[in-house]
């Protein structure tokens, strides 16, 4: 009876946390662009080293009882990790199962092609919709490719339609993904774009997003999901066109979908 009651309490909050389901021996990647601090104790003041972006760490121990922590609007736990000969504690909110995008990754497609394992033979494109001659337009195309990473299946969609183009990356399976991981990945891949947005918003401080929330530099630097915590939508500040970065989380399947669409 007691365990039945405890289960929901333990598992429900996990849905909104960062990287999930790792165990001792698993390899995780540092996805924070400024790196993470390796500390001598969980939450302690003594910093052993700063592990730079892209570092692989091996989980040495999942702490029990769990030691939750929160930083920059994201929740997570302290975890004991090993990096080469060093052992210490890091906040897991900036770690991910996913490999860190290298500098040459400028979009979701290049990230998938460079870092993930293609599943099966070369995949397919396809069209959707039939054209409307009165509008002089063709509906568009939506290509799909499958990739794998660890136990996860990752679907890349690249689409164009009559008024724009876009791409999406769906992260499924394995231990599941979080909105935070989606944002970490998007921050790394779209770094140049996000930096540009920070500069542009400084010149246009009255700008609001589609939900009428004021946009400021922090919008592009911090993890700030919509109220219910399942999606994050960022106006990428084009001139005269729409350009959106959207990250959506489905709690039931623990899937994260990152998409970038622009159109004029």
């Amino acid at each position: 009876m007691r365990s039945l009651l405890l289960l929901p309490l333990l598992f429900l909050p996990l849905l909104t946390f960062a990287v999930k389901g790792y165990r001792a021996g698993d390899e995780l990647h540092v996805l924070a662009l400024s790196g993470v601090r390796l500390r001598a104790t969980p939450g302690g003041d003594k910093v052993l080293a700063t592990l730079p972006y892209g570092t692989k760490v091996v989980v040495a121990e999942v702490l029990s009882p769990a030691q939750p922590f929160e930083a920059e609007g994201r929740r997570g736990f302290w975890v004991k990790v090993k990096n080469k000969d060093q052992v210490g504690y890091v906040f897991d909110g900036f770690l991910s199962w996913l490999p860190a995008p290298d500098k040459s990754c400028i979009d979701l497609a290049s990230y998938a092609q460079k870092h993930l394992k293609p599943l099966g033979a070369k995949f397919v494109g396809h069209a959707f919709g039939c054209y409307n001659p009165d509008e002089d337009e063709i509906a568009g195309s939506d290509d799909t490719r499958f990739f794998q990473w660890g136990g996860a299946t990752i679907v890349l969609s690249e689409s164009w339609y009559y008024e724009g183009a876009g791409e999406g990356l769906s992260l499924n399976g394995g231990a599941g993904f979080s909105l935070e991981e989606g944002w970490l990945l998007a921050q790394a891949i779209f770094k140049a774009d996000l930096d540009r947005c920070v500069e542009l918003i400084a010149e246009d401080p009255d700008r609001v997003d589609y939900n009428d929330r004021p946009l400021n530099a922090a919008s592009y630097q911090q993890f700030s999901p919509a109220k219910d915590g399942t999606y994050l939508e960022l106006d990428m500040l084009p001139e005269g066109c729409s350009d959106m970065l959207i990250i959506v989380f489905d709690p039931q399947t623990k899937t994260v979908y990152i998409s970038r669409h622009s159109g004029c």
């Binding site: 397919v124 039939c130 509906a139 499924n172 399976g173």
Partner: protein
Amino acid sequence: MRILIFLLLLAPQWAFAIKNYSLGQTLNVLALKGLNLRDRPHGDKVVRTLPYGSQVVVAEKPNQDYPFEADGIKGFWVKVRVGEQTTGYVFDGFLSALPAPDASCSSLQDYCRKHLRAFAPRTVKNINQWLEFGQTMDWVQAYEYQNKIFALVENNSPYGSFYELVLPGASLEEAWLIARACLKDELESAKAMVAARTINDDNGLAVQQKHYDQFAAVVFRGFGCVALPLAGIDRYLGLNEADGAVSITVSKKQ
């Protein structure tokens, strides 16, 4: 985000036959009434009628010497071998490397399940965030057949639903033949419906009965598509091509 615009328009002049087959390749007969094997290209003498679903082996280097057209499909005569002994010529417009849907096929899911090999788990393809309705998802199941990856995409949203099968490397005509065979009953009842009363498509044009028997694609900027109402409220069959693949879509508008 994704807007499906369906339209039926008359452009029967345009068509390609099966794409890219080669000498020695085994192909399937997708003509519902069977395919005549003749003694020579355009020949009068029928050696045999090859039933729907039977197989032929291409017996000459594919060429474009003898063009032909039937049921709105353009193609060429090609020499084929049937079994060990028999050779003759068939019109290639009703041949495909894709498996012929069996007699009990009644949906795209059915076709995939019976004729293709599923691999990888069924997966979320994308999550749609609707202002009014919250989230809906498109799911995708990957299938393999002859080293090509196929995808069956399912969608349900407050605006409707669809199943969409993506066939890499196929022609629009092959997709038409597969849809014809797999959705035979549904297309027949839609045809009967169109015969009984005027059915207008999205653009207010009357749908013609003959388009349930003949291939008639619209071509625009090099891409072809076919859209046909199915029996039932707001159900559509769509065929579309782009980027080296075609898709067959059965959609329902809410």
